[in-house]
Subunit: 360 residues, 2 copies
């Protein structure tokens, strides 16, 4: 089959590497040729989206903020999976929140603000609030935290609409990687515990307690008629999960499934969108991901990371290092959750020299 991927970042890159074992060809469409383009069977510049759509039997995306015309053309061809609805929800936070609330899924209380001034006013309705721009936000961009007393004075250097959310005083953040096949089969990996720092995933570890996340994921994918892999992030408060956000694609809290799992999220997604069977994923060993953000990788660092047993280094080959830029990750495995935590801490020390805040 000819599989098209819109976007050429690291998610597409890993999807193609992992998809090599299947009898598919892979084609990339993007505005510039990122890592995925280098391992694809062909790269289409965004202007040639008609040729791209014609070449492919099925088309998916690895990034939400892609060319609208290309996406619509792919959608109209009937080849786009998981379709337009999920990407619309993802690109417009207001729609995402409203959809989830209206369908009865647990989310934090929120208001919709038409501009920054209204967002500041609405924020005072909560003890503590997060103001999130409705469009273009990811990795903590376009998010503003405030408490009631400071809300009116908050500096928001952005235009557009906002979601004003109650800031959840959570016990933990967690996520689940789930898929739905064309015949409705639902599958999910074991949930992971996620540690975010400054709005970016720092590390995650699986398995984690379910808290009801699997059931929510199953309902949501069914409700959306979704086909493919979705990553769903949760807050856990008082032992109950609330959806923080969804990602209609493979997810950065699922990279550890490349090791120690019976199927990776990447193969799971490819199997689902091409209609191949997806058996229930099994996690054979506690595993997790440490992100490498803003760190200059040299040979010495590479050697230090790889000398820790049970590690695999994924280096995305991006040009240029800067603060808050994710340039790679380390998959980490260990026989017990306790030794995984230890390895993760050891690696954090190695990669960030005990000062992650300097890089994020």
């Amino acid at each position: 089959m000819n599989v098209g991927i819109i976007g050429s970042g690291q998610l597409g890159w890993m999807t193609i590497i992992e998809g090599r074992k299947l009898p598919n060809n892979y084609y990339i469409l993007d505005e510039s040729a990122g890592p995925a383009a280098r391992v694809a069977d062909g790269y289409f510049a965004v202007g040639s989206y008609r040729d791209f759509v014609e070449r492919c039997d099925v088309i998916t995306y690895e990034f939400e903020h892609v060319n609208e015309q290309a996406l619509m053309h792919a959608y109209r061809s009937g080849k786009l999976l998981p379709g337009m609805k999920p990407i619309e929800l993802k690109r417009e936070r207001i729609l995402e929140k409203e959809y989830l609330r209206d369908e009865g899924f647990p989310v934090a209380d929120f208001y919709v603000a038409k501009d920054a001034a209204e967002a500041r006013r609405l924020a005072t309705r909560f003890e503590s609030a997060v103001i999130k721009s409705s469009r273009g936000g990811y990795d903590g961009k376009g998010q503003f935290y405030t408490d009631r007393s400071n809300a009116e004075k908050l500096e928001i250097g952005m235009k557009g609409k906002f979601v004003v959310e109650e800031r959840i005083d959570f016990e933990a953040e967690a996520s689940i990687i789930a898929s739905r096949s064309p015949d409705g089969t639902f599958r999910a990996h074991r949930p992971s515990f996620n540690l975010n720092k400054k709005g970016m995933l720092f590390y995650n570890m699986a398995p984690y307690r379910d808290f009801g996340m699997r059931k929510i994921a199953s309902s949501l994918l069914e409700r959306l008629g979704y086909v493919g892999v979705m990553g769903i992030e949760f807050f856990i408060r008082d032992g109950k999960p609330m959806i923080n956000e969804i990602a209609p694609r493979v997810h950065n809290t699922g990279h550890h499934t490349l090791h120690g799992s019976s199927i990776s999220q990447f193969e799971q997604h490819l199997r689902a969108i091409t209609g191949l069977p997806v058996p229930e994923p099994e996690l054979f060993v506690p595993s997790g991901v440490l992100n490498i953000i803003g760190v200059h990788m040299d040979r010495e660092m590479e050697e230090k990371i790889l000398s820790v047993p049970g590690t695999a280094l994924y280096w995305y080959g991006k040009e240029g290092i800067r603060r808050r830029r994710k340039v790679g990750h380390v998959n980490v495995m260990a026989k017990t959750t306790g030794s995984l935590r230890k390895r993760m801490e050891e690696l954090t020390e190695t990669v960030y020299a005990g000062r992650p805040e300097d890089y994020l």
Copy 2:
């Protein structure tokens, strides 16, 4: 680093796919462009071997029967790992057997015959014998089994020298995948139990008992000053291992290390030859390989295989199917060795419809 691979078959293909996560480029040299060439950063036809050697920082091989000039040029450049000695042993069975015996490693008793007539005569010295052509034999090619009474009449349609070996009445066949790094560090995966049919690996499963194989592997790699991964096949007789043959490269009894192990044999080889750390491999879950030989793969077969939990299908994309031609394999994982065996039998039934002998 620029890593060169001589040979473009499935071993090189998997090495490159698995090596994508490391910050290397991969270049292939071969007489024709097989599967590995399709995923490489560049392909060199065999005539351009000088350019190939110049382009690469380190050069390895994935197949023994490659162009001699190219190999020698790579060797003289000082970039060839694991070097010339192992490939010379592998290509000339007489040298392999003599080396192993002279160095004190356990092998079956054997004689060297200068032609087929002498081989027939020498075969009568054993109750049961295997006559193996010294050059060009793999996957059971150039091997002739006989007992004493029929030896003189044996049809050997081949010229050249032969090794005449005592046919070992073994309890089991097994193998170990081991590596040695430039600093002398030795690492090995857990051994696997191998089932061969008609001289070809049918399936294998790990972990298996060690029987002393690890110690032998360690001595052998040290003795050879070897750098990289070696696959060593053994007979187990009376609970003791005897070396059957060596393969100076990644090995088809190690493909399961792509799943459920802390490091695959492919990454292990790449790390060793580029001087990166190789921690001790951990096997997290019983796993094995079922080879797909001579089977026509269609969508229905693909679906059947992938509907078994804990399977990953590797389809090499070779043109043309014929009897005894290996066209892919299935990696199989299961939580216990018992359930692995069950899955393997289920898959054998699926792939070969209970009649493997029709395909081999």
